[in-house]
């Protein structure tokens, strides 16, 4: 069974549909990139999967024992956070709250999870540094570690490399590759169509025409050829 399966999904704001009749699924170990023009509903789709917006119609089904609050999420950086006084440790720990039920404070289990996530992202040595003093690439890895604390099997990434310099971009893609190789499914919004076709196992294209299939199928399709040829 798929981790996430969308059936005949229609999304929009205030009754106006942005995406209609969408069908796709994400299975364990998949690497799915969502591509398409601005305003085609990529972020809306992600918010619907996270339960932040309600679909106008259709269904989002979670399978394989996955529940909505076990989806790890890497949002785009907001201005609020750039000067936020918080240590890396404080930010990463906040990813553990979903799994704590009603307990008010962190226990041994949360410390374990957070340490493990920081190790996997290679930021253990930054734990006591302040988040606002880090580079853009480091900040993204901190937020990815936080997402890992909340995630069981899948990560949703909203343009994880936007605003990063080339070196940090490569490091970020490598980090995502490693997680995917460890069995974490990836669902990522990307503006970088070239990187998307190199990295992803499947492509979901939103726009006038929707397309969902393997990367090879996408590259052979008319939608894919037109989108990739566009300057």
């Amino acid at each position: 069974m798929a981790l996430i399966k969308c059936e005949n999904l229609t999304l929009g704001y205030e009754g106006r549909p942005v995406v209609t009749g969408l069908n796709f699924e994400v299975n364990e170990g998949d690497y799915v990139c969502i591509v398409g023009e601005n305003g085609s509903g990529k972020s809306t789709l992600m918010k619907a999967i996270l339960g932040l917006v309600q679909p106008l119609s259709g269904q989002i089904i979670f399978g394989d024992g996955l529940t909505q609050n076990q989806v790890g999420y890497l949002p785009q950086l907001t201005d609020n956070q750039r000067d936020f006084p918080a240590t890396v440790r404080e930010v990463v720990y906040s990813g553990c709250i979903a799994g704590m039920g009603r307990r008010p404070f962190f226990g041994r289990r949360e410390k374990e999870i957070a340490k493990n996530a920081m190790e996997r992202m290679g930021i253990l040595d930054l734990a006591k540094r302040s988040y606002r003093d880090l580079s853009g690439g480091q900040q993204q890895r901190v937020l990815l570690a936080r997402a890992l604390c909340a995630a069981r099997k899948i990560l949703l990434l909203d343009e994880p490399v936007s605003g990063l310099d080339p070196k940090a971009t490569i490091e970020m893609y490598d980090a995502i590759d490693r997680l995917n190789a460890e069995g974490v499914a990836i669902l990522m919004i990307s503006h970088d169509i070239l990187a998307a076709t190199i990295k992803a196992s499947h492509i979901l294209h939103l726009g006038r025409e929707t397309f969902f299939g393997t990367t090879a199928e996408y590259e052979a399709s008319r939608t894919g050829r037109e989108f990739m040829a566009a300057p």
């Binding site: 936020f84 918080a86 008010p104």
Partner: protein, 277 residues
């Protein structure tokens, strides 16, 4: 020193100090969240609503004004947050609208139903809280202690969740936290603190108690925990210092406390700039 000890032998001075410290503590704790969430102006808007409510309570000749003022302020806090992002009138404009209306209505009511012969004196007292801190009864102090205790307990119990919601509301909500409930909790606590703080500094100066300690602490520290603790300590110290100065020099309590807060901010700013934070 001896003079201060002599003043402390009066119960009304002791009450004032107790209430002042509690208010300073609560307002500074919430201030960190409000400043970081870019909600500073909500405290300001609510204080104007509270002014309107006080005027209405006085016009209705209520003996215990809190009975009216607290519910009205809490309700406004809930309304202000609820309108949030999707409203037709945007949040900041909404707050400006509500706060000036409450201010105007309050002044109007005080004119139409004067409590004493000296209307401008009454208005001044409500806006700048000149003497009300020194006329507290034991019941006022008890109410203040209960409300402060509630604010403190809730803040500590929900500390990690308040951090998460403050840092990243979308992420918290995506991982199953009811972020809107925590926003509501924060709004209700802020409303309670505003009502309490009217006694100390009057309604125009409340925002200073909320934002100055947090801003000062943020000049000096880089983690959320240290900013929160520093903000609380700084706020209490400034409040005690301000009250002491006002008793000894005979200056208005609220304005003196706020002036000390502002001075503390300047000091922290300079220290921060020198250390290059």
């Amino acid at each position: 020193m001896a003079q201060i000890l002599e003043y402390l032998s009066y119960p009304f001075v002791r009450y004032a100090v107790i209430v002042g410290v509690l208010i300073a503590l609560c307002s500074s704790l919430l201030g960190v969240t409000l400043v970081l969430k870019r909600f500073s102006f909500i405290g300001d808007g609510l204080s104007h609503v509270a002014f309107g409510a006080v005027a209405a309570a006085a016009a209705m000749k209520l003996t215990d004004q809190t009975v009216l003022v607290l519910p009205v302020t809490v309700l406004s806090a809930v309304l202000l947050l609820r309108t949030g992002k999707r409203a037709k009138v945007k949040g900041d404009a909404m707050i400006a609208m509500i706060s000036v209306s409450a201010l105007a209505l309050g002044y109007l009511l005080m004119h139409l139903f004067p409590v004493s012969g000296n209307v401008s004196g009454d208005v001044c007292t409500t806006l700048f809280g000149s003497t009300s801190i020194l006329t507290l009864t034991a019941a006022d102090v008890r109410l203040c202690a209960w409300l402060s205790a509630a604010v403190l307990v809730l803040f500590v119990l929900f500390y990690h969740r308040i951090f998460a919601v403050t840092f990243d509301e979308d992420f918290s909500q995506a991982t199953g936290m009811r972020a809107d409930r925590y926003n509501m909790l924060i709004a209700v606590l802020v409303a309670a603190v505003v009502v309490l703080a009217m006694n100390l500094v009057g309604s125009l100066l409340i925002s200073a108690l909320v934002i100055f300690p947090a801003l000062s602490a943020m000049r000096l520290f880089r983690s959320f925990l240290s900013v929160t603790v520093c903000s609380a300590v700084l706020s209490v110290v400034c409040a005690v210092l301000g009250m002491a100065v006002s008793i000894l020099a005979g200056t208005p309590v609220g304005a003196t406390v706020v002036a000390v807060d502002a001075a503390a901010f300047l000091v922290c700013y300079v220290i921060g700039a020198v250390r290059g934070v």
